[in-house]
């Protein structure tokens, strides 16, 4: 079974985010990057499917504006067999990114191309669907269970008030939800895996040029929270607090 997993490097969730001068990008200075958590789950799904089938390989595909391979090495350390690093694409929107990934994936043959359901930085939810469309492949999003059997993928997804089961023919594109196949995180890399990662093959390709169809106007940090207000002290403050909760905050 040949499986591809597309994963995005995003700022670590503990990173302190600053906007770069120009106001259109995050300042990468001092920011540690990690694999987007849903993509990390997709990696784990693919690794377990490969281990269960006992054959084939898992190939990681990731883009990085500077060609930095930290996320790729992490994927290789947890067991991905080889990787394609696409250098470039700093200013790409979802459509341009999907075009690049489709161009990279098209000449390679995979049974399933996995994604996390969304990247946790821009939350666009678009790339898996667009890649499937560009490659002319069937796709299913936000899966909570994935099984591969007899040339078909059997997936389940949560829908309003229930669950949906779908089947699709391979090759196909699948994006996964947290908890898929009981998986909430990727495994820890092993020390041996980390040491072996540097000798696994990584193919670096330059991102082909695609025109963005969206113009990013500006990025802004969320407004600072206004300071709290002290309405009084002790029991005497209760009537005023209740009035404010009722009339101003409208939570009572």
């Amino acid at each position: 079974m040949n499986l591809a997993v597309c994963f995005k490097r995003v700022p670590d969730t503990t990173a302190k985010i600053r906007i770069a001068s120009g106001g259109k990008a995050i300042d990468p200075q001092g920011v540690e990057f990690a694999i987007s958590p849903y993509d990390a789950i997709a990696l784990e799904v693919a690794l377990r499917l490969k281990e269960k089938s006992g054959a084939g390989e898992v190939v990681g595909v990731s883009m990085d504006p500077e060609g930095n391979d930290v996320a790729i090495r992490k994927a290789l350390a947890i067991g991905v067999d080889r990787a394609v690093l696409v250098k470039g694409g700093a200013t790409f929107d979802s459509h341009a990114t999907a075009q690049v990934l489709a161009a990279v994936l098209k000449p390679r043959s995979f049974d399933v191309i996995f994604f996390g359901k969304q990247a946790i930085d821009d939350d666009a939810f678009q790339v898996p669907t667009m890649v499937a469309q560009l490659l002319g492949l069937p796709r299913v999003n936000v899966c909570t269970s994935v099984e591969i059997e007899g040339g078909r993928a059997k997936c389940r997804r949560q829908i309003e008030g229930g669950e949906e089961s779908v089947e699709l023919a391979l090759p196909c594109v699948i994006s996964v939800q947290k908890g898929v196949n009981g998986i909430h995180d990727n495994r820890f890399p092993t020390m041996k895996g980390i040491m072996a990662a540097k000798s696994k093959p990584v193919e670096t390709v330059a991102a082909p040029a695609f025109e963005p169809t969206l113009e990013l106007v500006s990025l802004e940090l969320p407004p600072e929270r206004p300071p709290g207000r002290i309405v009084g002290q002790g029991a005497a403050a209760v009537p005023e607090l209740v009035r404010l909760l009722k009339e101003e905050a409208k939570v009572l």
Partner: protein, 388 residues
């Protein structure tokens, strides 16, 4: 839970390779996700959290610097970073890993026969079996050369008699690397639990290293086959070579405990308001925090250079002594200062400073006491031994 971000005042991170940073990150995440959630209860109950053993084995930490037998073959700096991160969790857990790796797997790898390596190393690496190291005796701690434990030839094998004391993992262990005096000098043996005359007993009532198993090994006419004698040893020197491995890991580990205490005290002091402002805004508290971060930075530099020397085969045992002596001393001071900054909260186990402080009292004493390391370095620089 808040994730630990590390302390890097002197911008040392660029001196680490990508692999070294990934190793540190992995063990750091493991400590946040798996170790810290269970350590408080284990420490309070005085139990080693056994559920961590297979998980640490799965990460590949046991024997991680050794070549072959399923081991990762990583360098000394990466291994040191593992010890640092584990001890940021708890000194007892780092001790377990130090013993399994530096005091059990290392001597078998360095002094064992091929048959012994094939038999024991893969199972130690995967934690299917657990090891302990028997050198110290009730009457011989700083002076191991005076040991009373005897090994006498009997037919094709050996008979061991004696008592070993303060043995980490004694009660958990499936095998013990035991040192005993034979007619032709000190010899090392791999004694298996189940061999006639081998018994262990837990030492109770510890106020330190409570999440670690500490015990005694009793050898009463214990029969050990010749095949279990380590053939490559050269007397006490070989036992001390093992200690050198473990001391190296301790030097790094102490930095981890110190970083944990510093971070806890720093965060607390910025939030705890007394009189009109956070206590971090008072000069006396700032001075303590500055002492802490300065000593951590110096200890990090000692460790990093020691690790690089070790990987070049140039680290001397005296340099290891200096790093162990300095780093543990300051880690203990830092833990005490952190406890102090935390005020009354510092004595509660919701915070880790006092647990680290109690643990470090042991670390200060074991693997060569602070004073013995002073004398090792003193002899080296003056040429005059001052032990007795």
């Amino acid at each position: 839970m808040r994730k630990f971000k590390g302390v890097d005042f002197y911008d040392l991170d660029p001196l680490l390779s990508d692999e070294e940073r990934m190793v540190r990150r992995t063990v750091r995440d493991f400590v946040d996700d798996r170790l810290l959630p269970v350590i408080r209860e284990a420490w309070e109950k005085g139990e080693f959290p056994k559920s961590l053993i297979p998980q640490i084995a799965e990460l590949g930490l046991f024997g991680a610097t050794l070549q072959g037998y399923g081991c990762a073959g990583m360098n000394s700096v990466a291994y040191g970073l593992c010890m640092q991160e584990l001890e940021r969790g708890d000194s007892g857990i780092r001790s377990f890993a130090s013993v399994q790796s530096g005091l059990v797997m290392y001597p078998i790898h360095a002094f064992g026969s091929d048959a012994q390596k094939d038999k024991y190393l893969p199972r130690l690496q995967s934690s299917k079996i657990i090891g302990c190291f028997g050198l110290t005796e009730p009457d011989f701690g700083s002076n191991p050369g005076g040991m009373k434990t005897r090994a006498e030839r009997k037919g094709d094998g050996w008979v061991l008699n004696g008592t070993k004391m303060w043995i980490t993992n004694a009660d958990l262990a499936d095998i013990a690397v035991v040192w005993a005096r034979a007619d032709d000098g000190i010899q090392g043996f791999i004694v298996e639990r189940g061999m006639k005359g081998f018994e262990t007993q837990e030492i109770r009532g510890k106020l330190s290293l409570r999440a670690s198993d500490t015990g005694e090994i009793l050898l009463r006419d214990c029969e050990v086959p010749e095949a279990n004698r380590l053939p490559g040893t050269q007397g006490l020197k070989s036992a001390l070579a093992c200690l050198n491995q473990a001391r190296y890991g301790i030097a790094w580990g102490a930095v981890g405990a110190a970083m944990g205490c510093y971070e806890e005290a720093l965060e607390y002091s910025k939030q705890r308001i007394q009189f009109t402002k956070p206590i971090a805004g008072y000069q006396l508290v700032q001075r303590k925090l500055v002492e802490m971060v300065t000593e951590i930075t110096k200890a990090q530099l000692l460790c990093l250079q020691l690790g690089r020397l070790k990987d070049q085969g140039k680290a001397s045992f005296v340099q290891v002594s200096m790093a162990k002596r300095n780093n543990v001393f300051h880690a203990l001071e830092i833990a005490r200062m952190a406890r102090d900054i935390l005020g009354g909260n510092g004595i509660i186990n919701e915070y880790s400073a006092m647990r680290h402080m109690c643990n470090l009292e042991t670390v200060y004493t074991y693997e060569g006491t602070h004073d013995i390391h002073t004398l090792i370095i003193g002899e080296h620089i003056t040429g005059i031994p001052a032990y007795f």
